[in-house]
């Protein structure tokens, strides 16, 4: 049932080379850059999870902090308060996130929310979620939760130092990307694209709107929770404003949009470029003039959006195709001239 392009991609050497280089990174990267790489890879995971809903299905969800927060906060709270193993906690958080995602999709379907209403409803849910977290002692309240020191005990959802978390975040990022590619090349992905292009037409030809939306939101929610839990364990201090606040979602949505929605490669490339860029200029300029790095980062984003409204990757694809076509045209020209006979003067 899968589209053959999925297997072509797997057979191509490019992803494997990239992966090999990534796997070897801890050997040559300094700790400062390693921490940036880990952060970036977690963001890739978030962006890929969000892309299932925001990119493939075209539903602008601003409520993904619910899922990220559930993953990080609930897993930690269950462990700290009830002693539930974090692996089990992750499973619980993923199931709950999937259910919450399905319910949000059901609301979207039942009340026929448009794009704007969907964005606002998810935003409202995210606000409510943050307030619930802040007001619930079990979830750490406003002061957050602190996980015990990481001793590298894998069975306790501990991954050791930077290298462990690098490989954890790398495998999560690759897993999330694979999930995206699997969905895109499966019938579900085609149905979701139909829904994104035209909901009425999709319904008219017999696509089950509710089921497709619920499944995509559930997968996206569970994946966000999974990455959220891992990110939480990495950060040790579970800050409610970081995990349940809106900033993380907004940043993911922003970066994904800059990359270009539609394929997972837009959000992927943009995350790989922008998150390290933001971190590096913060590292180098943060001490020079506070706020300067945010200003540069913001200005750059504005410029990219103005210059390439469709996003980085689609624009680059267009440019590449145009260049190639021009190259082909240039090659054809001499042949065309050779085929033409030189005009001979008329004889009378």
């Amino acid at each position: 049932m899968l589209n053959p392009s999925f297997w072509t991609l797997l057979r191509s050497p490019v992803p494997w080379i990239v992966l090999a280089v990534a796997v070897s990174a801890p050997l040559w990267m300094s700790p400062f850059y390693m921490s940036i790489a880990i952060l970036t890879l977690f963001y890739v995971g978030f962006a890929m999870a969000w892309n299932i809903v925001g990119g493939i299905s075209g539903l602008l969800s601003l409520g993904h902090s619910i899922f990220v927060g559930t993953g990080a906060i609930l897993t930690s709270a269950l462990f700290l308060n009830l002693g539930i193993n974090m692996w089990l906690g992750v499973v619980i958080a993923c199931v709950i996130s999937a259910l919450v995602g399905a319910v949000i999709s059901w609301l979207d379907y039942r009340f026929r929310l448009g794009h704007l209403s969907f964005a606002l409803i998810t935003l409202a849910f995210a606000e409510v979620f943050l307030l619930v977290v802040l007001g619930t002692d079990f979830l750490g309240g406003a002061s957050g939760l602190i996980l015990p020191n990481d001793t590298g005990n894998f069975l306790q959802f501990e991954f050791g130092g930077g290298r462990g978390y690098f490989y954890l975040s790398l495998s999560l990022a690759v897993f999330a990307l694979l999930v995206n590619l699997l969905i895109i090349n499966s019938p579900l992905g085609y149905f979701l694209r139909c829904i994104r292009d035209n909901e009425d037409a999709a319904q008219a030809i017999g696509i089950d709107l509710l089921r497709c939306k619920m499944v995509s939101m559930a997968i996206s929610g569970a994946l966000s929770a999974l990455v959220g839990a891992a990110y939480g364990r990495y950060m040790v201090f579970i800050d409610p404003y970081l995990f349940a606040g809106l900033n993380l979602t907004i940043e993911v949505v922003l970066v994904a949009t800059i990359g270009g929605l539609g394929t997972p490669f837009g959000p992927l490339v943009a995350t790989l470029l922008l998150i390290p860029f933001g971190e590096v200029i913060r590292g180098h300029l943060g001490g020079v003039l506070p706020g300067l790095h945010t200003f540069i980062y913001g200005a750059l984003i504005v410029i990219v959006i103005l210059a390439m409204p469709r996003g980085l990757v689609p624009t680059a694809q267009d440019w590449w195709q145009r260049r190639r076509r021009r190259g082909e045209a240039a090659q054809e020209k001499p042949e065309l001239q050779r085929g033409l006979k030189p005009p001979t003067p008329m004889e009378d």
Partner: protein, 234 residues
């Protein structure tokens, strides 16, 4: 095959269809005529389950399908080719056709259905890899019909397939619809083009302000002075 009785439907507080009753027999070619705003598209959308019925029943082979979600209705064999074609512009022609077979029932015979559609519209085969948005209006209409056929319909409802097409394409499309009917497919054709519909359909209905006012064969309708009046909406 299809029995509609006392169907009332509309949007918000406004009723568009009032007490509409009609039957379509298996293998028939029924035309549904009417001026703008007569409620033709609402009727088709109601039969598809896109617009809920307020009162009345829609029966397909005795089974009540009113209130069923659209995909269940498509699964049972009622498929519409929506007005304005509504193809998915960024998807290739082939993918557009493939998503037409979204139901489990239609996925089994997909390859043979695809061949059938390409035999009916060779143009689609030529443009298989192209994004649907780059097709001309007529080609998009062919694609929309092909997409409908891929869900393996028993009753194909076409909503204004001639809309915005050049006369040449209108002929091609109508010849194809006629051929589909000859091969056994039941057709419900919604049109504004009176003569074209009467020349194809074995029986026609005229809808006026949400009510069926005339029903009969082409000759009966041509002779009925009411047709012109209803049609012009006077």
């Amino acid at each position: 095959m299809l029995e509609v009785s006392g169907l009332t439907a509309g949007f918000g507080t406004l009723d568009i269809l009032h007490d509409v009753s009609l039957t379509v027999a298996s293998g028939e070619f029924v035309g549904l005529l009417g001026a703008n705003n007569a409620g033709k598209s609402t009727l088709v959308n109601c039969l598809s389950g896109l617009v809920p019925a307020r009162r009345g029943t829609i029966r397909l082979d005795g089974e009540d399908i009113s209130g069923m979600p659209p995909h269940r209705i498509v699964e049972r064999g009622i498929v519409q080719v929506p007005e304005g074609r509504l193809v998915f512009p960024q998807m290739s022609v082939l993918d557009n056709l493939k998503v037409g077979s979204s139901t489990r029932r239609s996925q089994l015979g997909r390859t043979s259905k695809l061949e059938e559609v390409f035999a009916l519209f060779p143009r689609l085969h030529e443009r298989m890899e192209q994004p649907a948005g780059t097709l001309s209006g007529g080609e998009q209409q062919m694609l929309a019909i092909g997409r409908g056929l891929l869900s393996n319909p028993r009753l194909l409802m076409l909503d204004e397939p001639s809309l915005g097409l050049s006369p040449l394409f209108v002929q091609t499309i109508f010849r194809a619809i006629k051929a589909l009917n000859t091969s056994g497919l039941t057709i419900l054709l919604v049109e504004q083009n009176l003569n074209l519909t009467l020349s194809c359909a074995s029986r026609s209905l005229v809808l006026e302000r949400g009510k069926i006012v005339i029903e009969g064969t082409a000759d009966e309708l041509r002779q009925d002075p009411q047709t012109r009046r209803a049609y012009l909406g006077l």
